[in-house]
Symmetry: C2
Subunit: 479 residues, 2 copies
Amino acid sequence: MKKLEKITPQKEDFSRWYTDVIKNGDLMAYSGSKGSIIFKPISFAIWDNIHKNLDILFKKQNVENVYLPLLIPESLLQKEKDHLSGFNPELATVTEVGGKKLNEKYFIRPTSETLFGDFFKNEIESYNDLPLIYNQWANVLRWEKTTNPFLRTREFMWQEGHTIHANANEAKKLTLEMLKIYKHFVESYLAIYVLDGYKTEHEKFAGAEFTLTIEAMMKDGKALQSGTSHYLAQNFTKVFDVKFKNKVNEYEYAYGTSWGLSTRLIGALIMAHGDDRGIVIPPKIAPTQIDIIELFASKEPKVHKLALQLQKLLSKQFSVKIDDSDKNPGFKAANSEIHGTPLKIEIGPKDVANNQVILVRRDTLVKQNLDISNLKDFVKQVSNVLDDIQTNLFNESKKRTYANFIEAKDFEEFKKYIAQNKWVVTHFAGNADDELAIKEQTGASSRCIPFECPINLKNNNCFYTGKKTDKIVIFAKAY
Amino acid sequence: MKKLEKITPQKEDFSRWYTDVIKNGDLMAYSGSKGSIIFKPISFAIWDNIHKNLDILFKKQNVENVYLPLLIPESLLQKEKDHLSGFNPELATVTEVGGKKLNEKYFIRPTSETLFGDFFKNEIESYNDLPLIYNQWANVLRWEKTTNPFLRTREFMWQEGHTIHANANEAKKLTLEMLKIYKHFVESYLAIYVLDGYKTEHEKFAGAEFTLTIEAMMKDGKALQSGTSHYLAQNFTKVFDVKFKNKVNEYEYAYGTSWGLSTRLIGALIMAHGDDRGIVIPPKIAPTQIDIIELFASKEPKVHKLALQLQKLLSKQFSVKIDDSDKNPGFKAANSEIHGTPLKIEIGPKDVANNQVILVRRDTLVKQNLDISNLKDFVKQVSNVLDDIQTNLFNESKKRTYANFIEAKDFEEFKKYIAQNKWVVTHFAGNADDELAIKEQTGASSRCIPFECPINLKNNNCFYTGKKTDKIVIFAKAY
């Protein structure tokens, strides 16, 4: 039987805290396959809920799901050189089958732009056949040197959207629309505030004309890229000969986009909401929304009867579990907290007599008595509290992010703030080499050129080059 | 724009018919990744419906979903020798990353018994921790030499269940329960009758003590294995040291099962129900259940208005599409048939005047007028017709299967019936070598030892060895 182990406090060592909570929360196990993890029932259920809810939003945008092969022949991936060089050091390569060497090598997909390019080629003839708005839910593999559960693993699960359009404007519009869906989803379902904007030239996707991103702030102040959407222009369609007859009967290459969001969001969820008692899962995405706990080790018949009755009632609307193990109530409460269940309902013999139960919120840990004489009212109140937890988690996330923005007037200030894990909002006129140098010296990377600058800036000159510029960039240390 | 191409009649050439209907029905595309296919929106949506509905049935049995890595280290797969030798010639092997040779090779999973074994080892301590009833939805890869879309592809998608139990009986019971779920699912949702039974020693899974199977009959008479459930006894748990403290405080190895069902069911669906007009998808699994077709090439405002009104009404309960392309009604009707939509609703100007529409069933092609003056009645009637299509498809499948059973008293008769693609139900006392010899001479393999013999047998002796035996085996050519 599982024992609860001590969780290192966040303030003491954030990365040990992270390791402790994912272990205690039964989120993952290490596997014999180095650099990849096992998704245990809770983390897989979170991903399943992300998958299901995001898929509904996609379908409202006429996205259709397809599935393309895992293996990319070497000849296909070599066609787009920028793209290949962006991924090459991380490509897992199949060279033999059953001990026999293959004539052509295959790469395990790190992403599928090339396969989609090759597929699209045969799917369109005229502008009438466009747009094609496809998505696939798939596993991909990138041979990372340093890995971290959920945040950076060799194999991960994601969705990757791939679309082609008859003109550039429509494709650019869709690139932005998908980013808006990501922002809406991460904020409304995962209750994490995200900042949206462009990636700099240095940080954009290999093969894209521009990349849009949403960036989330973790509780230690670091940034986590939570979803990206790329405008590919004709970069892949020219290489893969994806052309169509336009309205004036001329052949033209189609305009592409791609966009993805992955299981690293589970890591974001943990680090955006978790506390020293364990993880905290927002109600809209929680595999279990309510834990019912009987306040006696040995089962008290009246308490147990009420627990079962409330479970049956609440299960019509929520996912509810009763912990009916032999453990004592203190263990059960701590166990529920470690697993991040948004709401606990505690029932003791006195509560049965008084026609009430105790609600305990996971986010604030606030307890309240709740009358159960009118069961319809009771359910409504429980529903309201769950809604309030969802809203509160988001508001706290947003407040925390805003409190962490700061302007740096020069590189000295910049270094000081980055060392404090602040998000530095600043004018920037540097190039890719400057970004590399900044990263080497401070550990910070450019997170985005925000659509809207989140704070009022006092200076107009680049903190690094001193040049005057309109371009505003946010820098931070990132996962 | 797509054109409809001629479909080879089933009687003329069944395999060409198959290729024609999957191409015309937009089910798949070939990919640059040899031996694997692209699942286009319709086939992926069918798989998604299989996934969603089967997952609901699993969860009622307390199955929990997890996700384990794609890559199996060589050292791990080598631990169970029978298992390894069963898969070895088909193992795709990653030997290098980014051009550099790895110290240890990795195999792309052909199935995940070894990874689960390694995982389970650390998950249990005592009988209190058992059973663990896990499942994963995943892609797997087996380097097949000859491939056939959906039926046999190198990469395919499936679910693989893996469980461990505190005693053999419980594990055996679960092996059977999962097979029952498969039978129920394939019969109720895919409307395909299946025969259930044991695999012979020769045909069982590499590493299992016994294998249960459901076998479906295609319209050409051949069999298709549609799902299998394996009792693994302690074969993997001993190898991976998966042990627990039992009730008398002694260490004991756990008892395992595994069970799987894959995207080849899409092939089964096509070959069990399709006809010379295209595929036929049972309503319960159809991505589009109703196509509404306006009986004029140029849009007639009254007809179009009614079409939209009925779509809105029916969409509350069913998935409904209107074909509003510029094609003529004949093309639209044929296009709906090719794609297997269970029900068509045709509307012409006269129908609007007469307050009626025409229903056309995809299974029987029967047309009927349906009054729409009472819309509630209308929806009810549509619902009834869809139910009837579902039932009728299953009944036809069962009838066809039963009509194809036949007894063979000796090998001469056996050869004759197998040449006619019959399913030979017969006593059999042969061994693995005999099965191999039979397959070489006739192309037939043992499909199962049925739980219940489907016909009354006249002979008691083995058709092949002449020996007297109680064992009844069904032989057939198979996909």
